[in-house]
Symmetry: C2
Subunit: 300 residues, 2 copies
């Protein structure tokens, strides 16, 4: 039986009851506008734990642009229905004044994890994400929390957050859910016009191209990224903000690819900003493979 609560005390009381009944508690933090990507997180949480909490909170502190915050889709009633259908136990839907009851003075300095990609183009974004996630962890005290791999840098920030502050929460990354044409599900897709939506798949195509290049043996990260970027059509409605290959742990730029990297991109489609990423795994240069390169008959 789904319960919707909007205060910290009520949430803690309900979670406490379930914990005392011996349930493990999982948290799926969201900003609402739930889609099939969120559903895959919730379904996984449902399978793996006794009590599932979904938080729905559009966190103003992580928006670097006012118009993005204002345009962010909000649909609490529908979201609650989605949660009910997925057998969620608790929806935590606090107001801004509940989450920031006292003016927030402190925040999480995420360090160099935010130096590149979205961290570079959205100043303060990951500081805001890390701060609100830490607050949610303090409020809910879940055993496990689920995050989508679509937001790869966010996932890396959250993983590091629990390591660096010894937060006793296990973080699970869940694979990106895509439309049949490859577009990653995102609440921001709702903002695209039909014509813009038709342009959107090029981001994932470009990222897959990077992965294919790496698989084919390319090792120069800058070249791979440049090649991949050529798959974004020249169109006034499209602007590639970044397409880079980075280390999956610290999100620093890769130079020579000798281990798995993440190809990540941000593409403006009209006034909507889409992000996506693909893991690129370099071909293992086996002893045999390297021997093939040598002239026949080169005795060893």
């Amino acid at each position: 039986m789904l319960e919707v609560v909007d205060t910290i005390d009520a949430l803690r009381e309900r979670v406490g009851e379930r914990r005392r009944s011996g349930h493990t508690v999982s948290l799926v933090p969201t900003m609402g506008a739930l889609h099939a990507g969120h559903a895959s997180l919730i379904e996984r949480a449902r399978r793996e734990s006794g009590a599932v909490v979904v938080s729905i909170f559009v966190n103003p502190f992580q928006f670097d642009r006012v118009e993005d915050l204002e345009r962010y889709p909000r649909s609490l009633d529908t979201d609650v229905d989605v949660c009910r259908g997925l057998r969620v136990d608790l929806v935590f839907a606090p107001s801004v004044s509940v989450m920031y009851a006292a003016p927030q003075m402190m925040s999480v300095d995420v360090g160099r994890l935010a130096d590149h990609l979205c961290g570079r183009y959205r100043p303060g974004h990951f500081q805001g994400v890390a701060t609100v996630v830490l607050k949610l962890f303090g409020i809910v005290q879940p055993d496990v929390a689920y995050f989508g791999e679509k937001d790869a840098q966010q996932l890396a920030v959250v993983r590091r957050l629990v390591t660096d502050f010894n937060v006793p929460v296990r973080i699970v990354g869940v694979p990106t859910v895509r439309e049949p044409d490859g577009v990653a599900l995102s609440s921001r897709n709702l903002r695209l016009s039909a014509a813009e939506r038709q342009l959107a798949p090029c981001l994932y195509s470009a990222l897959r191209h990077a992965a294919a290049s790496v698989d084919a043996g390319a090792t120069n990260a800058a070249e791979v990224a440049r090649d991949a970027a050529t798959l974004i059509p020249a169109d006034d409605r499209l602007r590639l903000e970044y397409l880079e290959l980075v280390d999956p742990d610290d999100f620093q730029p890769a130079t020579i690819i000798a281990a798995p990297v993440i190809a990540a991109g941000a593409l403006w489609v009209g006034t909507t900003r889409l992000i996506d990423n693909v893991r690129c795994i370099p071909r293992i240069r086996s002893r045999e493979a390297s021997m093939i390169d040598e002239p026949t008959g080169a005795a060893r």
Copy 2:
């Protein structure tokens, strides 16, 4: 029966056992070199909770000067004996490599709470304090934690830390313990020569003078501080780093004193830096009192 543990897993296991037995868990975070000030924190924790954890960790991250870190007294064996005498349940004495197993990438940005007093003169100090306290809270997950009022700005930082990150730990401030001559107990007192020790009481005297001025009706914070500072003797071995009156919540400088403030000072005695503070409570200007100021016969 006291147990000493030095790993996070062992600590969590032992704390978990006690929590499952229904004990509330309290934490007294220390840097060791335990004295009667620490003892008063531990005794209070002992009275108020079922399981008492004392952490002993000299946190390199909060030292702004290498020589201060290197000179900081260390006496684990004696400290453990003290804890045993005070019926502590668990001593958590991790190494630096246990507390910072991965290189610490993230930290707590404490905001304007660190703009003045020790925050101004020890850059990064409160960022280091807040970070290690948050880590200790994540590791121990105590119900209550005890901190000395001697470190007033630290106490304010910790109070704000749990508010701003919704950490489910109750913070208790414990009054400063003093020597008969008024000097606040501090592990750093051990560094003073006998002659230096004789000079040390002037800091508390100056701060009490500030409180007396406020009690006597003084309202100009800068004047009160300046007057108080005259009680520090002119002596080559003494250097007053600061003596200021600040708001007890956000530690911003007071100007006109209309509500309780904290008079806080840092005094170098030779190569040792001592801090102390006193609460200053302004006289309540009652209606009657203000009427007395008016010329007799001024009709209302």
